[in-house]
C-alpha cells in the first residue's frame, strides 16, 4: 500500500532522511517511532505530498506519490486521512463544521454529512462540544476532534502523527481502539509516535527511524 524505496529528503541541505526503504501492506496497522526530530512527521508529509523527496520513489495505492502532478493532488489526498501533530483546526469554525468540512470537500450532501459527523463525534466522545470553537477546547479535546476529522471520510489510508500526545490513558485507549476498529474495516493505518505504551503489546510492526533511515523493525 505504501512503499518507500531509497528515499532521501533534506531541508536546506540538512539531510533528514537518507536512503530510506520501507513498506506498509494493505490493511496493515503499523507504527513509526524514533526520537524527537528523527523525521517521523517528515515521512508522513512525504506520503501525503506535502513535501517531495529529493531522491527515491514513493508509491501509495499504486500511485507514484513522489511524482504526483499538481492537479491530481487534491483527489489523491482525499484518499488519505491525516491526524496532524499540530492539529490544523480552523479556529473560526465550530467542532461540527471542522469535521463536516472534510466531508464537504468530498462533495457529500448535507444530510449524509450530518449523520456521519454526529456518529464520529460520539466515537471520540466529543458530542457535548460540537458547537464549541477550537480555541475553547482543551488540548486533548482538540486532538480528539482532529482524529474525528481524519476518520470521518473513511479514508483508504489513515496517517496519525502523535495522535495521543495530549490524551490521558483512558482517552488514549479509546482512540487506539478506534484505530484498530477502522483498520479491521480495511483502512491501512500508520501511526507516528514516541509513546511506547501505544505500541508495546500491540502485536503490530513498529518501524524505528534512527540515523536517517529505518534502522530496525520490531514487533510491538
Amino acid at each position: 500500500m505504501i512503499r518507500f524505496s531509497n528515499v532521501s529528503k533534506s531541508y536546506d541541505k540538512e539531510p533528514i532522511l537518507k536512503n530510506l526503504t520501507m513498506s506498509v501492506e494493505r490493511g496493515e496497522l503499523a507504527f513509526i517511532t524514533g526520537p524527537s526530530g528523527a523525521g517521523k512527521s517528515t515521512l508522513l508529509k512525504l506520503i501525503y505530498c506535502s513535501e517531495r523527496p529529493d531522491e527515491g520513489q514513493i508509491t501509495v495505492a499504486d500511485q507514484v506519490a513522489s511524482k504526483m502532478k499538481q492537479r491530481l493532488i487534491p483527489r489523491y489526498r482525499r484518499q488519505i486521512g491525516v491526524v496532524f501533530q499540530d492539529f490544523k483546526l480552523l479556529n473560526n469554525k465550530t467542532v461540527y463544521d471542522n469535521i463536516a468540512l472534510a466531508l464537504r470537500i468530498h462533495q457529500m450532501n448535507s444530510k449524509a454529512i450530518r449523520s456521519q459527523v454526529i456518529n464520529v463525534l460520539k466515537e471520540v466522545n466529543m458530542t457535548h462540544k460540537a458547537k464549541e470553537y477550537p480555541p475553547c477546547l482543551s488540548g486533548g479535546e482538540q486532538q480528539r476532534v482532529v482524529v474525528a476529522r481524519a476518520m470521518v471520510t473513511k479514508p483508504m489510508i489513515l496517517l496519525a502523527d502523535e495522535p495521543t500526545g495530549n490524551l490521558d490513558p483512558e482517552n488514549e485507549k479509546s482512540i487506539m481502539h478506534l484505530f484498530r476498529q477502522i483498520n479491521t474495516m480495511g483502512t491501512t493505518v500508520l501511526i507516528a509516535t514516541h509513546n511506547e505504551s501505544l505500541y508495546s503489546g500491540s502485536g503490530r510492526r513498529v518501524l524505528i527511524i534512527k540515523d536517517k533511515y529505518i534502522d530496525k523493525e520490531i514487533m510491538g
Binding site: Y48, C49, S50, Q70, I73, P74, R75, Y76, R77, R78, I80, V82, F84, K88, L89, L90, N92, L101, A102, R104, I105, H106, Q107, M108, N109, S110, R149
Partner: protein, 294 residues
Amino acid sequence: MKSIPYYLQTALKNLWIEKWINLLTVLSISIGMLILCTFSVITLNLDSVLKQWSKGFGMVVYINEQASKEDEENLKALFMADKDFLEIKYISKEEALTGVRKALGDDAIIIDEIKENPLPSSFELKLQSKLLVPEYVKSKAAKMKQMAGVAEVQYGEQWLSSLNKISETMQKGAIVLGLAIFIAVTFITYSTIKIFFHRRKEEVETLKLLGATKMFIKFPYLLEGLFIGTLGGIISAATIYSAYSFVTLRIGEFLPSLNFSIAVLPVQAYIIIPFAGAFMSLIGSYIAIGRIKY
C-alpha cells in the same frame, strides 16, 4: 454544484465573523469608487463647459455694399442647404448698428454723432461643433469668400486654435488622470483584499491538506469579494447621489446668475457603479488569492 450552498454559507459566515474588518474594506472600496466617480462627474462637466464655449463659435459673412437683395437671398438659400451649419442668422445694417450701440454701453453717445450707417449687413453662421477644426474652418471660409455678394468672411482664428488646444489638453489630461485614479482605486481594492486574504493563509493551507480542489478553496473568497465590492459600489452610488443633489441645489441657490449646467449623471450610472464595484473587487479578489500551489 452540490457545494454551492456551502460556498454561500461560508462566505456569509466569514463576512459576519469578521464584520468590522469587512466594513472597513467596504468603506475603503466605496471611498475609492467615490473618488473615481467624482472625477468622472468633473470630466463630464468640463466637457459640457467646452461644448458651451464652442457653441458660441460662429463665422461672420459680411455682405458686399453693392450686393442686391437677390444676392442676399441666394446666399441665405445656399447656407440653409449646407449641412455644416447649425444656425443661420441674418443681420441687417440697422441691426448691426444696434448691436454696436449695445456693445458700447455708455460710450454709445458717439453713435449719435455719425451721419450715415457705415456697417455692412452680414450672416452669422454657427458651425457644428465637431467641425471646429482650424484647417477645416479655414478652407470653408476661403470657399465662401468666392461666393457672389460676399465681401469678407471672419472667424476667430486664434481663438479657435487655442480652443482646440485646450480641449485636446483637457482630453489628454482627463485620460491620464482618469487612468491614474483608476489604477489607484483598483490598487486600494486589491491591497485591502490582499491583506485580508493574507490573514487566511493558514485556512487555505489546511484546506489544501484536506484535499480540497482549487475551486473549492477559492469560491467562498470570490463570493466574499463580490459581496464586499457590490456593497462598496452601492454605498458610493448612494453617496454620489446625495452629494450631487446637494451640490446642484446649492449652486442653484448661490449663483443663479451663472446658470451653471452640471452634467446630469445618467440614471444608468447608479446601476453601473455597484456592478463596477463588484467587477473590480472580483478581479481584486482573484488576483489577491493568487495561484494555489499544492
